[in-house]
Amino acid sequence: MKKINMNVHQVTRVEGHGNIVLNARDGKIEELRWEVTESPRFFEAMLRGRYYQDVPHIASRICGICSIAHSTASIQATEAAFGIQPSQQTLLLRKLLYNAEILESHILHVLFLAAPDFLGVGSVFPLVETHKDVVVMALRLKKLSYNLAEVLAGRKTHPVSCVVGGFAKLPEIGELKAIKARLEDALSDLDTTVKLVKTFSIPDFNRETEYIALKDSKEYAFISGQIASTDTGVVPLDKYLTVTNEFCVPHSTAKYTKNRRDSYMVGAMARFNINHDQLLPHAKRVAKELGLSTPCHNPFMITVAQVIEAVHAVEDSINLIDQILSRGLIEEDNRVKVRAGRGIGAVEAPRGILFHDYTYDENGVLNKANCIIPTNQNHNNIQMDMEALVPLKLSQSQEEIGHILEMLVRAYDPCISCSAHLLKIYFK
């Protein structure tokens, strides 16, 4: 008789706190759960009663890794509520700033959090000895994305200059030129990353699910577009609640979501499956080289999709800087006229689609907020992947099963501290 009693308390190399519980006897699963135990933070309660200028500043603090995503979604929700259409210059700068976050977050996950699994170590630290060039390269790419964000918004974690209506301070042309040269150099670092990722033996496990991401007819969508689902097609942003359908489960401080099926997936793989045609040429070549084609139903390949998006973000940044340089930068009037109303901002955070939904009063004070975080939208999909994966692995040792389940969770790059902030507020 074989018994498995496993409780992986606080999965490591993920952002936030989550546990895996598995009990099985004689090849039969008695209990299998992905639990989210992060402390709830009540962000929507914190935002209530705040003046609009303070709102993106506070919303950014939902997450240290994807603070640009939260800040951008927050700014866009507020602009939508006030009926503000940002200028072309603002949009170019916002997209460029956004790419810094996509690049940084994906490199962090691929090379620091996921790579140790494929190189047979428990963290990035032993790699300093065995793969020093990889670690130094990863730090170089991260530094580049930080510097790109610094040029545009003062800093990467909790950006400063991006505000409702535009940018409180414009970047220097000379700094943009310098960073463009470094972005061009980064493409060769990314080629090295591609060669490394090619050596990873990615588990062969497929489970078809629903994929949801923003879709924009003009480009590979990160901060614009409508909601696209592989099951139910395209719906406008103001119908987001019909897609997310949140629900509580007793073992989790994060809320779960579902559309038509029991779960859906968001993030790099969802974006790739939906928007792959719109990737830039170098990113498309990398997809081919890494053997990723659509549709892909293997969650372990999310890491590969992130590499492709990192390449796309660098290519796109070079193009954006060219456009900004040819237009020149002008000081714009960022003054904002407040009005009562509701606005929805949606962006593709590194980990997937993110919604901020705000209602303001006539003085520009927020009186209702709802944020739906990407990782929450993935929690039930992680659970369902586990339920499909474990029966295939029950003949293996408890240690091997534990390892592949941790790898599965890590592949989703979950940002759990974000997901337990989410949470809807009902104001009377």
Partner: protein
């Protein structure tokens, strides 16, 4: 022997823990040569419960976090609060103006009974803290400064003068002259006045200086036609806990 260092996260955005990997490549490698990182869940699978220096990120907002923090304090020779949430409570304390039942009900509705939360508080409200690395986010540079001082057996020097000093040095036009409210005159420096330099105002994320010149802040407000209430609203974003404690 290299000091054993551990990192722990409580209620926070965990922004800083991953920011440490933003140190210059050589700085990070040097750091790893000088200390032994034994516990760092965000980036490391192996864990060890024998450590000398504990860095704490986040504020304390659940009953279970209190006992977890006390255990860490009992083990560590030195406890360092890292970032605004750990040092002063930070934005997490904005929920403290609600009753916890009300907050839970608002967020989880009919499922509120399944969850627990307590008013958020900084680390020093639960256990004694030896040193502070302030700010939201804390900077890698200040973190390195503290670690270096500890390795050399010195007391880390952290600024205790207002942001205005650094803001002047950065050559900024005064925020009040630009018609905005600013907390710079009473809030602790060390950030290089980055928010003002980047086109905004000081939000107070490093907490008050030890002896804030409140009269001078009031004079400034009067001069620019601003009210104490306007400043207090800004002050609450990071310093609700301080305000409640007063």
């Amino acid at each position: 022997m290299k000091p054993k260092v551990a990192f722990f996260d409580f209620t926070s955005c965990e922004g800083w823990q991953l920011d440490i990997l933003n140190l210059e490549g050589q700085e990070l490698l040097d750091l790893l040569n000088a200390v032994d990182v034994v516990n760092f869940r965000e980036v490391k699978t192996e864990r060890e419960d024998n450590y000398d220096i504990a860095f704490i990120e986040g504020s304390i907002s659940r009953e279970a976090e209190i006992s977890r923090l006390q255990k860490i304090r009992n083990q560590a020779k030195v406890v360092i609060a890292l970032g605004a949430c750990a040092c002063i409570g930070g934005v997490n304390c904005l929920k403290n103006h609600l009753s916890m039942d009300e907050a839970l009900r608002m967020v989880y509705g009919k499922d509120a009974k399944n969850y627990d939360t307590i008013p958020s508080r900084p680390v020093h409200a639960v256990v004694p803290v030896d040193y502070y690395v302030r700010g939201c986010p804390a900077t890698s540079a200040e973190f390195l400064k503290v670690v270096k001082a500890l390795i050399l057996g010195k007391k880390p020097e952290i600024p205790n003068y207002p942001v205005c000093v650094e803001c002047k040095m950065a050559g900024n036009v005064c925020v009040f002259e630009r018609g905005m409210t600013c907390l710079g005159p009473v809030v602790r420096a060390g950030c290089g006045a980055i928010c003002v330099t980047s086109g905004q105002h000081c939000w107070g994320c490093r907490g008050l200086v030890d002896e804030p010149n409140i009269d001078s802040e009031k004079d400034i407000l009067q001069k620019y036609g601003l009210t104490v209430e306007q400043v207090v609203e800004k002050f609450k974003i990071y310093n609700t806990y301080t305000e409640v404690a007063k």
